[in-house]
């Protein structure tokens, strides 16, 4: 009898993992994807929507169109995982059994955790990015402040990229000379990765983007238009853009599968749940100390698919495991970008920003739909 493989979440990781398992299991698996909306969203594009460089419709496709014909899609929300009975209860009341479960439910943003922060703009949801662009179009000069309201968050370099793309936008509008841009960083550098921060900090300075160190956002006063840090500093703004705090999905918390923030506790190499050997987690949903990004979900999906196919075929577990590989692009504005590559044992390296990386990112973003979800890129 074919094994029931259930995948929760139709994002980068879940979609790719489902397709690869269905393809490689040789008919020995029935693969089902449960997704709350049935719409696949390319989240790295939010950044471009926020500065008017991309249309929201270009970032969404139906999940069904990205899945193989032999993968079943259930549009419903997972409400509870019952590891003892090996089944998942959905919001509709329906129950789905599994032999192997992959949780790829991503993260959610919780701006309300920071007092007053709901008044701030963000580019971490489609609605947020669209709203932010509207606010920028109406903006006519003043102080724009970019800050971080919670750690960990998706795509560590995103606030820096946003600062650069914002600078381009303001210059194109001819209002850069009457706008100050301030980037509030939780650390004493542009973002967590030191080597890349060293590379981009002189460019931030060159573009007149002021970097404020050790500013961990504690609260926002929307009336006074000020943002205050845990360190006790207060900064005024005319337009505030915050990276919202993130948490794992409620289903993880309700099922007792994660830590206090709802991040699923898995082995950082095998991605297998630390308590339940038939549950795996990939992408933003895990608690492993690695960037929350599409590239991580992509590499992890490949590892988990191999492990599950081996388990279904009754073969020994594959020797290769997830090695912490991350590869991402970082826009530095004015048509240039750099990349960041690292894994658990190799520290991050970034080449000097150049046009080729900007085009590399643009090409990747366009070809994504035909390559990554199908598992065509290793």
């Amino acid at each position: 009898m074919a094994a029931q493989v259930l995948v929760l979440g139709g994002g980068v990781g879940g979609t790719m993992c489902a397709n690869v398992i269905a393809k490689r299991s040789g008919g020995r698996a029935h693969v089902t994807v449960v997704d709350a909306t049935g719409i696949h969203v390319f989240q790295p594009g939010f950044l471009y929507v926020a500065v008017g460089q991309e249309r929201p419709s270009a970032l969404q496709r139906s999940e069904a169109s990205l899945l193989r014909h032999d993968v079943r899609l259930v549009v419903d929300r997972a409400r509870k995982v019952d590891p003892a009975a090996k089944r998942v209860i959905l919001a509709s009341g329906r129950t789905l059994p599994y032999d192997e479960l992959v949780i790829a439910t991503g993260s959610r943003t919780v701006m309300d955790e920071v007092p007053g922060a709901r008044s701030a703009h963000d580019f971490y949801t489609m609605a947020g990015a669209v709203q932010l662009f509207k606010a920028l179009e109406a903006f006519d000069g003043g102080m724009i402040v970019i800050g971080v309201a919670g750690i960990p968050y998706k795509c560590p370099p995103a606030p820096v990229e946003f600062a650069f793309l914002l600078d381009d936008y303001l210059r194109a509008r001819g209002i850069r000379n009457k706008t100050e841009v301030k980037l509030l960083s939780p650390l004493n550098r542009a973002f967590t990765i030191e080597a890349t921060s060293k590379l981009v900090q002189p460019i931030l300075a060159e573009r007149g983007i002021e970097l404020t160190s050790f500013f961990n956002v504690e609260s926002v006063d929307p009336m006074a238009k000020t943002v205050t840090s845990l360190e006790g500093e207060t900064v005024s703004y005319d337009l505030l853009v915050l990276v919202p705090p993130h948490r794992g999905q409620k289903v993880i918390e309700d099922s007792g599968l994660g830590d206090e923030r709802g991040w699923i506790t898995v082995d950082k190499n095998t991605l297998k749940h630390e308590k339940f050997p038939d549950i795996w987690a990939i992408g933003d949903a895990t608690s492993i100390p690695i960037s929350k990004s599409g590239s991580v979900a992509h590499y992890e999906a490949s590892v988990v698919a191999d492990e599950i196919v081996a388990a279904i075929r009754g073969e020994a577990a594959p020797t290769h495991v997830y090695d912490g590989k991350v590869m991402c692009f970082l826009e530095t504005g004015q048509g240039q970008a750099t990349t960041i590559r690292f894994d658990y044992t190799h520290p991050p390296v970034s080449p000097r920003p150049a046009r080729i990386w900007h085009w590399g990112k643009a090409v990747f973003n366009k070809t994504y739909w035909h390559t990554v979800p199908q598992g065509r890129l290793p």
Binding site: P186, N188, S213, L230, E231, P289
Partner: protein, 79 residues
């Protein structure tokens, strides 16, 4: 002379900048002069705590290492 630690934080396994943020949060409720100790395993926390202490004016009283665990003692700054 023995020193009294007001709060102790176990931040082992967390990667930067979480140890800094958790420490900053915990220090908010201390009174000036009180000490907080932190245990962390992220090697990046050594330069980060040093720089954070300098930037915020909360003195780093002790920074040591035992095996893979780093131990920091910070003092809440006098206003």
């Amino acid at each position: 002379m023995s020193i009294t630690i007001a709060t102790s934080l176990d931040l082992k396994g967390l990667s930067c900048p979480l140890p800094i943020i958790k420490t900053a949060k915990a220090m908010k409720v201390l009174t000036p002069g009180q000490l907080i100790e932190v245990f962390a395993t992220d090697p990046g926390s050594v330069p980060d705590f040093k720089a954070w202490a300098q930037a915020t004016g909360n003195p780093l009283v002790e920074s040591s290492q035992e095996g893979e665990v780093f131990h920091f003692v910070l003092k809440k700054k006098e206003i």
